[in-house]
Each structure stands twice: as structure tokens, then as C-alpha cells.
């Protein structure tokens, strides 16, 4: 900055010298900063620790979409979760997500893997329709192999019928 200021001062002095016979002063003239628009010495702060993805209170902290029994479409109550992540992904094209679909424990391992895939795919499709590029999305399934809730009751089953967005 200092070098540029010197050049600025020098060039204006030279201009003044060219226009008049006024003797050059030894002291540098006081700059008038208020009249010009941008302050070249100003420094703006970028807050990397403020990535909305890392805010535990932020909307992106919600990364799970829950499904009803035998259902493979995103319910309206989870549309906002999808929209929040779509917005973030479109603004941050370097980010990729893997969407992991899950099922409850009932049924065969391989068939449930395919059913979990349908849940992940439903979320992927919703994000894609909102404009997120294919390259940022991958839908996979964990089937019934990694249950979040253990137990064989309706509450555990409901918790496991779920797709998770994983960054």
C-alpha cells in the first residue's frame, strides 16, 4: 500500500510541478481520503470458522429425512431440510455429499439394502430438482446394517427409516 501511495503522491507532485512553477514542498501533502469511494487500506475479515455447515444451531445441522413405513417419498415436513442443503450446495460447488438411506430391521438384508437405496434416491432426486449438480450428489444405502436405534419397537423402527445427508 505504501509503495502505491508513494507513486500516487509522486505522480500528483509531478503533475502539479508540470502545471505551475510553485516550489516543491519537502513534506508530503495530506491525503484527502473522504472524497474517494473505496479505501485501499481497508481490510475485510473472512470468517472460515463461520461456515454455516459447522454451526450446530444452524439449519444445516438438520441432516436427516425420516420416512413412513413402506414409504419412499420425501414428506412435506422434510422439504425444508432438503431446500436448506440444496441452497448450500449450490453456493458451495466444491462440497459433495453422500446420502445414506436406511431401513428398519425387518426383512432380508439385500432387499432392505435396495429399499434404503430408494430413500436415499428420493432425497437425491429432490436435491437435483432444486438445481444441485449431479457431481455433488451420491445416493447409497446402508440397508438395515447400521441402525441408529436398537430395539424392536415402533419407536426404534421409525428412527431407522431414515436418509442422512453426509458431507
Amino acid at each position: 500500500m505504501r509503495a502505491i501511495s508513494s507513486v500516487f503522491i509522486l505522480s500528483s507532485v509531478i503533475l502539479l510541478a508540470a502545471c505551475s512553477s510553485t516550489k516543491l514542498d519537502d513534506k508530503a501533502p495530506v491525503e484527502d481520503r473522504t472524497s474517494s469511494g473505496v479505501d485501499p487500506r481497508s481490510v475485510g475479515t473472512v470468517n472460515a470458522s463461520g461456515d454455516p455447515l459447522n454451526d450446530p444451531q444452524g439449519v444445516l445441522a438438520k441432516r436427516s429425512v425420516y420416512f413412513d413405513l413402506d414409504s419412499y417419498t420425501v414428506k412435506p415436513e422434510y422439504q425444508q431440510v432438503v431446500e436448506n442443503h440444496a441452497k448450500y450446495l449450490k453456493a458451495n460447488t466444491g462440497r459433495k455429499i453422500i446420502i445414506q438411506g436406511n431401513t428398519d430391521e425387518r426383512g432380508g438384508a439385500e432387499y432392505n439394502l435396495a429399499l434404503g437405496q430408494k430413500r436415499a434416491e428420493a432425497v437425491r432426486r429432490s436435491l437435483s430438482l432444486l438445481g444441485v449438480p449431479e457431481s455433488q450428489l451420491e445416493a447409497v444405502s446402508l440397508g438395515k446394517e447400521k441402525p441408529k436405534a436398537t430395539g424392536s419397537d415402533e419407536a426404534a423402527w421409525a428412527e431407522n427409516r431414515r436418509a442422512d445427508i453426509v458431507y
Binding site: I98, Q100, G107, G108, A109, E110, Y111, L113, A114, L115, Q117, K118, E121, E138, A139, V140, S141, L142, G143, E145, K146, V166
Partner: protein
């Protein structure tokens, strides 16, 4: 119930194994017999000459194998009889035995153990078979199983499966393991350890490799692992989920399920991962492919009609014909090597159970009494099915004969055991 006899064998064998495997704590499988065949052939089995010199008692393993098969009633001879002993077959017949087994174990100069045996038919007063097997000491159990297989085949006409192996997945705490054991649950060895799930193990036809699905990459990926060299390669890691590997009978290809095109569909790929081609084409889920014995057809699970049912199509794709019609949920097709039977899991009234369909006439029969069954696997002689089920809230394995009569369970001391697959005949 012939349980007490088997338990003493188990304890004796376990004690011997404990001496040899000191530092590694494997969870041994415990086998319990819960059902026997309709007819049991009475066989007298002698203690084999000199058998204490080997790490395992050959005659005890033979007795345990034949007992477990459900088709034999063992008569203890109460004495040692070798292949050179004088035997009075009429006397054994009068003691109730239809057959007599005698033999011996000898240590050869090169350190190998030589197992010799003879099988006599007391009813027709003649020798039925004899064998001599020389093998390294750590293969003494295999030699005993091979003798049992020979007895089984000579007396029933069907090849025995005692010398075969099984693979299965265990979960204890946070650790998953892919293990290989003898079909009697003994001698388990760990092929893969992981902190993430392992499912759908599948034996190569030559018994040296296992394909499986691992979640270690946070998504399902298919690996092929050489059990001997421990080297493994990725057979399929396409975008999305990769699962349900099944070997072609010639061992060169795998039929698999991929979601790379959106919906899960059936593909075929070479075992080295090249040459991928899509085979199924539906608007539903197509998965769990299985080659037919002649390698020309593929049986698979599809919910194209609403709920999952089993279909059959040509290995080249095209039209699929529906095979199961009972109930609204039929999955996990398995075809016996002789092409006669189709085993599967059916959910009826909330119960998941093993069913078998005679492919020649379409007749269906429920085989299991347990209610949370999964992953059936035929023995290579097509006479038994091993499957995963739950007992007392823990995952256990069970075996049932294709007529539903012979029943066994195999459990670990702690943790769950699941995803069994019965290995092929090997030399």
C-alpha cells in the same frame, strides 16, 4: 436325543484345540442337534488303532459327523478295531448294526499321519469300501471328515458334506468378522476384520475365494478376496450401492446388484471387475441374483409386481418368468446344485421362514419352525440348508434337511452370527 454323546466329543476336541490355539481367542461354534431323519442306519464304529497319536481322535469325529447328519444311529463297538483286525460281520449284524467301520492312524516317516479305514456291510457280508489318506498333522480333521463322507456316500448313495467348509459373518461389540470354519463349526479362522458391516459372502466354485459386500468405505462395495493369499480386489464400486455378489458356475463372472442407474438392478461383471453389463430391466427393485446350476439362467428377487417375488430370466436378460406365488413377500432365492430345488425366505403373517419349492412340479413346503430366518444356503450335495435365524435375541445359524426333519443349530458364545454360505466340494 443324541446330544450327550456329541457334547463329550465337543469337550474333548475343544480341550485339544485349546492346547494348540493359546493366544488367539476365537469364539468357537457350538452345535446342537434338534431333529433327526425318518430312518437312521445303525452303524457300529470302532475306535481306530493308535488314534491318540494324532491331535484329534479320528473315530470321534466320524461318529460326530454321522450323528449330526441325522441319518445314522451310532453303535459304539467298545473296542479298537483296525483295518487288519479279524471281524465277525454276522455277530455285528446280530448286535443291530447294518454296517461296521474300522481303521487306524499311523505316523509316517515324513511326519504326516496316514489314516486307513474299512467299511463293511454286515447284512450282505462284504466289504463296501476302504481308504488310505496321508496328510499333514493339521489336516487330521479333514481326513476324518473325508472318511465320514465316504461312509455316508456308500450307505446313502449321496455324497457327504462333512469335509466342506462354511463362511459366515460375526458381530461382537463393534467388530465385524468374516470367518471360515469346517461345516461342523470347528477350526474357525478369520478372513476379514472390520469396524463396518460385512454382508452377502459368496464362495467361488473352487472354494479358494469369497466375494462379499463391505461397508468400510461408508457405502456398500463388492470385494473378491483370495482366502489363501489374503489379497483382495474391488469387483464393483460404482456410484451408488454395489451388492449381492453370486458366482457363475465356471467361476469367471459375478452376478451383482447395482444402483448406479437409479433403481437397484441386476448386472453381470467379470471377477476382475471388467466387462460390466446390465441384465435386468424393470421399474422396480431387481436384486439377489443367483446363477442356475448350468449357468444359463439367473434367479432373482424383484418387486416389479408390487411386493418382492422370485423370478427367473436368461443370463442374457430379456423376459423374466415369475417363480413364486405363495404369499406377498418372497426373497433370497437359492438353487440347489442339482437344479431340483429352490429355497427362499417367505414372510407370512409376520414370520420370516425358509421355504423350499420343487422346481419339477412347483410344490412348496415350509422347512423351518424359527420365525426370523434369513440367508439360506444349500449344502453342495443339495440335501441340507444352512441359514441365519435368531435364538434368544441373538443371531445364530441353523441347518435343516430339505425334507424338514434333520435340524441343528450353531451358535457362538457371545455376539451374533449371520450371513452363512456353504462352501463347495473340494479335494
Amino acid at each position: 436325543m443324541i446330544k450327550s454323546h456329541f457334547s463329550s466329543t465337543f469337550i474333548r476336541t475343544f480341550a485339544v484345540i485349546a492346547l494348540f490355539i493359546s493366544s488367539v481367542a476365537h469364539a468357537q461354534l457350538r452345535v446342537e442337534i434338534a431333529g433327526v431323519g425318518a430312518n437312521q442306519i445303525p452303524v457300529a464304529i470302532a475306535a481306530f488303532g493308535n488314534e491318540s497319536i494324532a491331535p484329534h481322535q479320528v473315530s470321534e469325529i466320524i461318529k460326530a459327523d454321522l450323528t449330526r447328519s441325522g441319518y445314522f444311529k451310532i453303535i459304539d463297538t467298545g473296542t479298537v478295531l483296525t483295518e487288519n483286525s479279524q471281524v465277525n460281520l454276522a455277530e455285528w449284524k446280530s448286535r443291530g448294526a447294518d454296517a461296521l467301520v474300522v481303521g487306524s492312524v499311523e505316523r509316517l516317516a515324513d511326519g504326516r499321519f496316514d489314516v486307513k479305514y474299512r467299511l463293511f456291510d454286515t447284512v450282505n457280508n462284504k466289504q463296501l469300501s476302504s481308504m488310505a489318506l496321508a496328510a499333514n498333522p493339521n489336516f487330521i480333521r479333514v481326513s476324518a471328515h473325508k472318511v465320514a463322507d465316504d461312509i455316508y456316500e456308500k450307505l446313502t448313495g449321496i455324497p457327504g458334506v462333512f469335509a466342506t467348509r462354511i463362511a459366515y459373518v460375526t458381530k461382537a461389540g463393534k467388530e465385524f468378522r468374516l470367518e471360515v470354519a469346517d461345516s461342523d463349526g470347528m477350526g474357525n479362522q478369520v478372513a476379514l476384520r472390520s469396524n463396518e458391516p460385512i454382508i452377502s459372502p459368496s464362495w467361488s466354485p473352487d472354494g479358494t475365494k469369497v466375494a462379499y459386500v463391505s461397508f468400510e468405505n461408508k457405502k456398500p462395495v463388492i470385494y473378491v478376496q483370495d482366502l489363501v493369499t489374503r489379497s483382495r480386489s474391488v469387483a464393483a464400486n460404482y456410484k451408488g450401492s454395489n451388492s449381492a455378489p453370486a458366482w457363475s458356475p465356471d467361476g469367471k463372472r459375478l452376478a451383482i446388484a447395482l444402483s448406479r442407474d437409479g433403481l437397484t438392478q441386476v448386472y453381470i461383471v467379470n471377477t476382475d471387475g471388467t466387462g460390466l453389463r446390465r441384465v435386468s430391466n424393470s421399474n422396480g427393485i431387481d436384486t439377489e441374483p443367483q446363477f442356475s446350476a448350468d449357468g444359463q439362467s439367473i434367479y432373482f428377487t424383484s418387486d416389479r409386481s408390487g411386493g418382492p417375488q422370485i423370478y427367473r430370466m436368461s443370463v442374457n436378460g430379456g423376459e423374466a418368468r415369475r417363480v413364486t406365488f405363495g404369499g406377498s413377500y418372497n426373497i433370497s432365492p437359492r438353487v440347489s446344485a442339482d437344479g431340483k430345488n429352490l429355497a427362499f425366505i417367505s414372510r407370512r403373517e409376520g414370520k420370516f421362514q425358509i421355504y423350499i419349492q420343487d422346481l419339477t412340479n412347483g410344490q412348496e413346503q415350509r422347512l423351518s419352525d424359527t420365525v426370523k430366518d434369513e440367508s439360506p444356503s444349500f449344502s453342495p450335495n443339495g440335501k441340507y440348508l444352512m441359514y441365519a435365524t435368531e435364538s434368544g435375541r441373538r443371531g445364530t445359524l441353523a441347518v435343516v434337511s430339505v425334507d424338514g426333519r434333520v435340524k441343528q443349530s450353531l451358535s457362538t458364545q457371545s455376539g451374533d452370527i449371520r450371513e452363512p454360505t456353504w462352501g463347495p466340494f473340494m479335494k
